[in-house]
Symmetry: C2
Subunit: 344 residues, 2 copies
DNA sequence: ATTAGCACTCTCGTTACGAGAGTGCTAAAA
DNA sequence: TTTTAGCACTCTCGTAACGAGAGTGCTAAT
């Protein structure tokens, strides 16, 4: 398990590069021809045998070419790939799209998902930013019909929640406004705990409203509080590894089902800091459904204010360089937007 | 092209029923055995030949069993199937889930999509209800940072829109509130046109706000203004007709891409009234991507107030009875909810 | 340490073939 | 006139056989 020679690293990198491109096992002769190597195919074969022993390559069958193992990809991503970055023109184009969009969280999220999917030609997901601990900013009560009241709650950071409230008896819009005013004055910037302490000071109506508010603030601190945005689910269906539909189904189910996604995110990206990009290759032995997939995940936002997650799901045979750069860049962009929104 | 005899109708119905169940071409002998028919397989063969001539059945190859053509399905759905309805227990279960959910449009939409997907074992979509013509109900301006203002707009019906507004120079929260108050008093219940007429009466800030408001009201009258909720996309991948991944990809792309969906909805369901269920079989010669799919669509809501669309996408070989009943029932349920929300 | 040479292995596309399922037609039965 | 039994015919599908092609691993020479 000694470390690899430079030539072995070169060959490993070339095999992975070629395999990512063609999805075909790559043979020694082909490698020499295509990349104009200085040494012969026999040498390559020897090195390949060594790389196979080391667990980085595999033969689908005796006497086919080699393809990378999951460990091979991991080694590549961590040791060989180096730090890649998007070309400046691409960066500018993406930034431009963001600033051209309407100034609206929903639009931004949708755009982020779309850009990730498009750049990586894979499936993407983005979760809306939510505060680790929700803070009250503003509340509005709008009478709709008789005893029904629409409550609109604005959290610090601009997230808006709406909730229906059914009263015991009809209340005029005037009364509602005065209750809302009182709450707006007293609860400015508070979290759920602080608001709980104010409960006794309020009348019955006020208490009802505050209880709902507290419930919403608590909800926002859940792992996967907000909306999940997805895009490019069909990109991934084109890849040959998903020609076995069952693979595709299991992979897409992870993105579709909230419970699976929650498990995935809580055990990976949410345990890491902002800014780092995590690469999950082949389910990492933990997620059976992702055995034939890789995910590139990152957390964005500002700790203490609000954070969200974003990522890409594709076949293991994925263009990691480009994907990682894109995820990193978009995460940075969204982080900036979150900070801007939270300035106050 | 004379009309079918009773026996032909019976045989057509049985062929379709069996084919829906097994996805295999069905032969004459098999039909007689399985359903205990009174007449012999030779008779069935004769009738099948007639049905084939009439265009309702087809042979995948000479001397395989028969399978329904698209026209066959259409005849079945329109003439043979009769009016089916969900069992009462199922209806109660669904209703229960709705009233147990939080009173929140978002939750309801998600639930509707989930129920459709689950009941039909296919992919579902639901669009949020939006007014054909948006009406102003309430506006709130919240100062966030220096010149940035969060505008929250509540439409009649409870739909909430948020929008960011960047001012030329800083304005205090007090001033913002007084502008909002003024607008709330004057614009109650108005549509975009009415509000435009008020523009000259306002100061610069007021005009900016109203312009944005008008823009939002207009947006809500677009065909596909609101959010689209999807569920069960992976259900459909299990069906044998989608083992050819390319079929699956093209079908799912229709649900995924807003532009395709918009085209589809605007040319089908939006041209029909509330309550009716439309069945699109095999793309109806218009949508190439849907050649191997069927969709069951309905519009829900209250004309003049707000409407939305919902539907199911599955293989042509779909359990139409159950699916149609489910779509009809859920559409009714959502219509009721829309009406309740709009009472005022 | 590298490489030319070669025997060996395994996949994949093609072809051949028989079993099985189902049809269409004809002639007999109802 | 309608239904049905009987039968020859057709087409698919799974299996086996086979050769071409690609690639390997090993040995011996450089």
């Amino acid at each position: 398990m000694t470390s690899l020679s430079e030539r072995q690293k070169l060959i490993l990198a070339l095999v992975i590069r070629d395999y990512i491109e063609t999805a075909q096992p790559v043979g020694s002769q082909r490698l020499v021809d295509k990349y104009g190597l200085e040494f012969s195919s026999a040498t390559v074969r020897n090195e390949m045998a060594a790389l196979t022993d080391a667990g980085y390559l595999r033969q689908p069958h005796t006497s086919a070419g080699r393809e990378p193992t999951e460990d091979g990809y991991r080694y590549f991503v961590r040791q060989l790939m180096g730090h890649t970055d998007l070309p400046d023109t691409t960066k500018r184009m993406i930034t431009h799209q963001f600033y051209q969009a309407r100034q609206d969280i929903d639009q931004w999220m949708r755009l982020a998902a779309s850009i990730l999917a498009h750049q990586s030609q894979a499936a993407s997901l983005v979760t809306a930013p939510h505060p680790e601990q929700g803070h009250f900013k503003h509340l509005e009560l709008v009478s709709t019909f008789a005893r029904q009241v629409l409550m609109v709650l604005v959290l610090a950071g601009g997230e808006v929640r709406q909730q229906m409230l059914v009263l015991a008896e009809p209340v005029s819009q005037g009364q509602l406004s005065s209750v809302a005013d009182k709450i707006n004055q007293r609860c400015q910037g508070m979290d759920a705990e602080g608001i709980s302490a104010l409960l006794p000071q309020m009348d019955a109506l006020g208490q009802d409203v505050l209880k709902l508010t507290i419930e919403e603030l608590d909800r926002s601190s859940a792992v996967l509080g907000g909306e999940v945005y997805r895009d490019g689910l069909t990109n991934v269906l084109g890849e040959p590894e998903f020609s076995e539909v069952d693979m595709a189904r299991r992979a897409l189910r992870v993105l579709e089902e909230r419970s699976l996604l929650e498990d995935l995110l809580s055990r990976t990206i949410l345990t890491s800091g902002i800014g780092g990009v995590q690469v999950l290759i082949g389910g990492e032995g933990t997620w059976e459904d992702l055995r034939h997939c890789s995910m590139v995940l990152a957390r964005y936002g500002a700790p203490g204010l609000a954070t969200g997650a974003l990522g890409v799901l594709g076949p293991i045979r994925m263009a990691y360089g480009r994907t990682i750069s894109t995820v990193r860049f978009v995460a940075g962009l969204l982080s900036d937007l979150v900070v801007e929104m939270h300035l106050e």
